[in-house]
């Protein structure tokens, strides 16, 4: 783990390709993306449905349920949102469910599920067939998760409130999604966040928590089960270092990520620390490549 105190984005100058373009992208307001809720309306009917009601939506190539919503207004204050026809979600936040690729009739765990964008996306991709256990220990965020379940009709979601790292080992899952608490640097375009002042202690605490969560998520996977680890931060301490730990211990292998959005590979090293060589199979998403917020995704398969 790099113990250097983070100071803004400057420390990433060497690892972010076209760094000046990256800084320029941070100054631009983010595009608004919405996810058509295919539990209520099919993807083909969604654009005419929205256009008839006065919304300007544009499909996103590579992710059929994703649409860019143009114009001004509050997309969370519309009748169509209230009725659950769409969910507001960052484009890169829609990628974990696509990469995990849950199948109908499977049992899936989302270990840190609130506020529920990814968990409801999993249920949607499974057409509410099978179960998604959506776990989170933060009460107020769980209430938001529940409101999204109700609004979107994600009836296959089971909500639990364990500390993720203490999640019981008694049930095994086909697949798991782990999007742990992180410093959220990637969401900078939504407005400056306190992460720029994040201290060493906080960074260490996050790293420790993320490792514990990843190990527990691997514990509760069936043999050969797969897992997506994602964060909305650029910090290698919270990304490659966490995944590398599990790979080095022989608990998992990394799977290649095939997705039609530009991304950079995971890092092999950072600040003198060498990571597991497979980490280049992970994906880093930057706002000057994909017009959304910064993201990291690793796709793992549990080793027996």
């Amino acid at each position: 783990v790099n113990h250097q105190r983070p100071r803004g984005f400057e420390r990433y100058r060497e690892i972010i390709p076209d760094y000046e373009d990256f800084l320029e992208a941070l100054r631009q307001p983010p595009a608004v993306f919405i996810r058509a809720n295919t539990l209520k309306i099919d993807v083909e009917s969604f654009p005419p449905f929205m256009r008839e009601r006065g919304y300007d939506v544009e499909p996103v190539r590579g992710l059929k349920e994703a649409f860019c919503l143009k114009g001004k207004g509050n997309p969370g204050a519309t009748l169509e949102y209230f009725l659950g026809y769409y969910h507001i979600q960052g484009l890169t936040s829609m990628l974990p469910a696509r990469i995990l690729n849950p199948q109908p009739d499977e049992t899936i765990l989302d270990l840190c599920a609130a506020p529920g964008g990814k968990a409801t996306h999993l249920a949607q991709r499974m057409r509410n067939r099978g179960l998604v256990v959506a776990n989170d220990n933060q009460g107020s965020r769980v209430n938001i998760l529940r409101s999204h379940i109700d609004r979107l009709g994600a009836s296959s979601l089971i909500v639990c409130r364990y500390n993720g790292q203490d999640f019981p080992r008694r049930v095994l899952f086909h697949r798991a999604l782990l999007d742990p608490p992180c410093s959220a640097e990637g969401t900078y375009r939504l407005g400056p966040r306190p992460f720029l002042r994040i201290g060493l202690t906080a960074m260490e605490r996050l790293n420790k928590l993320q490792r514990a969560l990843l190990h527990r998520a691997l514990d509760v996977l069936k043999p050969e089960g797969t897992l997506v680890y994602s964060t909305c931060t650029y910090a290698p301490e919270e990304n490659e270092a966490v995944v590398s730990d599990a790979l080095m211990q022989g608990r998992a292998e990394l799977l290649p990520i095939s997705i039609p959005f530009p991304h950079a590979p995971g890092l092999n090293s950072w600040a003198g620390e060498r990571f597991h060589p497979e980490l280049i199979k992970a994906a880093r998403f930057y706002p000057h490549h994909v017009n959304s917020w910064g993201f990291f995704i690793a796709h793992l398969r549990k080793r027996n």
Binding site: D56, L83, L131, I149, D150, G153, C160, R170
Partner: protein
């Protein structure tokens, strides 16, 4: 903690949805019903469901469908959003003017072709949620917090061309 509804309770739930709203029993055949303190939840059947309930402390499962009131069951707005499209009875369709009143939780005075009691309220083919119909007046039963975002910001189309702004 939630527990599975008994066979008798399940039959009663299915009968209520079928008799009050005309939702066919076969529509509900692939679901399990769970009982909380005052709420009945609906969740799709899965072979893993039993195991999960035995091994995990479950806070909620699927969607809240009915609340137990002193006078009997009251359907939830979430439950009607989920199943209401299959309903054929006690469904009320609002016009544009009535929609605005309904979303503000105002009273709509009109005689609708429905029985007194809880009804499914629709607009333009979409289920808005639960209402209470008293014979000549309709009152929204949608929880206020769910309507709050709509109240706070008027429904201005996001497309500036459409809104004329």
């Amino acid at each position: 903690l939630l527990t599975f509804a008994s066979e008798i309770e399940t039959r009663e739930i299915v009968a209520y949805m079928s008799e009050r709203f005309g939702i066919p029993a076969e529509t509900l055949a692939d679901f399990s019903f769970l009982r909380g303190k005052r709420t009945i939840w609906i969740v799709p059947d899965s072979p893993e469901l039993d195991g999960i309930f035995q091994e995990l402390r479950v806070e909620s499962a699927g969607i809240p469908l009915l609340r137990e009131m002193t006078a009997g069951w009251k359907p939830t707005t979430a439950g009607l959003h989920f199943l209401g499209q299959k309903a054929t009875r006690n469904v009320i369709e609002l016009n544009d003017e009535e929609l605005a009143t309904f979303l503000k939780r105002g009273l709509i005075r009109r005689v609708f072709p429905a029985e007194r009691g809880y009804v499914i309220v629709r607009y333009n083919g979409s289920v808005l949620g639960c209402g209470f119909y008293g014979g000549d007046v309709l009152r929204s039963q949608i929880p206020e917090e769910r309507l709050r975002p709509l109240k706070r910001k008027p429904q201005v189309p996001i497309n500036p061309l459409a809104s004329g702004s």
